[in-house]
Subunit: 260 residues, 2 copies
């Protein structure tokens, strides 16, 4: 059984989060740089929207009475919108006001002192959905057997991205505005988004690179004490072992220096 | 705080394990294919030998009285030898009999019913250290400032790999014999190991591919119920949500079907 020795970064989201452990995905990169400091937990759920995620998150995130036994979530990324923004009659569609209210609810589960899931130690980062390349997505869906109609619109997903930013601003939560970052990187040309999306919806390695970079920038700006370079490994580096009395130096430490 | 919702694969070892979350590393690949089923915990410690790992593992692995609260370790990979095989007077050197006895001690901590760390549910896989390319390693060390002498010998590391196999045979633990796999893949030509080792000691992506493949083969052969294709996701796939009553279908499940 795994003892509770490392706090964690929890990545909550849909398939774009679930897929983040491909080679050069954002989960892979975070795992690599936070090795021996924080574990990175993939809590991405392909196909899920915020409505379906709420009952799941209630089970994923420990309630206060359980928290003494389980790893502390130091960073929680919340990344939705790609499925919520599906066009009706898609079963995945969540109306925009409900999407915003769902996001707020997930955030306040963690940030509200009266919540059963309250965790004052958890730093949240919101991420906006990537822009959709509707030509690429439409072609992908049309090629399926049976062919399917286009299920997302460029401007609709943009509205959901803007809603994420508005929730972040109101709740005081930093936002990685991936929608804008990718659209700018594509020269504000929807067709050129294919450089970052492999099927018009999901990110490739180049797309994930932007997410990773901006998560690290956000950590650096808003909670620099959690940047991987500011943490110590929970067990001492090899060169710092006291070779005359190793056990003395091989005791579990806190990764976050301010916790000492 | 992270609830205990997914059991885990724990990767215990030295720098070759710690580095396994590079793009196309074995940890990255395991994380990807086990997403939503098992979490993969990197417990690799650069520079450590088995002697220094024992007191650390006593803290990493939960004792019986703690086990009800923490994730179950379903698979534990134990991968040492690369540092233990350093030549004296290297401080990392562990004599061969002591290396074997340390490995046995780590295994029996988990497998012996009288151990405080006993975990009947944990399946162990031993991995042999990769062969050393002493020309490549020697050149790397000679290029440092100040230059360092060669610290490992091809045939010595081979003896440590053989010792891992002997411990596995005696303890009834399956072994991924990476030493032999890589040496055969290099046509039994030490110089050609540079195809799999970036510095004569540590694996590159091609080297990690062999480890990943043989871990999956070993799981398939010895505990097929833990192959990722035999597990279910702990939360239901999107297509299986009951859209009329989502919460009913969004309850945490056991990933391992025989646990039900």
């Amino acid at each position: 059984m795994a003892s509770n020795v490392q706090d964690v970064i929890m990545l909550l989201g849909d398939s774009i989060t679930q897929g983040g452990f491909i080679a050069d995905g954002f989960g892979q990169k975070l795992s690599h740089v936070y090795a021996r400091k924080l574990d990175v937990l993939n809590r991405g759920f392909s196909g899920y929207n915020t409505t379906w995620t709420i009952p799941v998150f209630e089970q994923l995130f420990a309630q206060q009475h359980e928290q003494q036994h389980v790893p502390k979530v130091r960073i929680l990324t919340i990344w939705f919108g790609a499925n919520d923004a599906c066009i009706p009659p898609s079963i995945q569609h969540v109306p925009l006001p409900e999407f915003s209210s769902n996001l707020r609810r997930i955030i306040r589960m963690v940030t509200s002192p009266t919540s059963a899931w309250y965790s004052s130690i958890t730093k949240i980062i919101l991420i906006t959905p990537p822009p959709v390349n509707t030509r690429q997505r439409g072609a992908d869906l049309a090629s399926r057997d049976p062919p399917r109609d286009l299920d997302r619109e460029f401007e609709v997903t943009h509205q959901y991205a803007e809603a994420v930013k508005a929730v972040g601003a109101r709740e005081g939560v930093p936002v990685v505005d991936l929608w804008t970052i990718l659209y700018e990187a594509a020269g504000r040309d929807e067709a050129k988004l294919s450089e970052f999306l492999y099927d018009g919806l999901h990110l490739n390695e180049k797309g994930y690179q932007f997410v990773y970079d901006d998560i690290i920038n956000t950590i650096n700006k808003h909670f620099p004490e959690l940047h991987y370079d500011k943490l110590q490994s929970v067990f001492v580096g090899h060169a710092d072992i006291n070779f005359d009395n190793p056990a003395e130096t091989l005791k579990l430490r806190k990764a976050v220096l301010s916790d000492r």
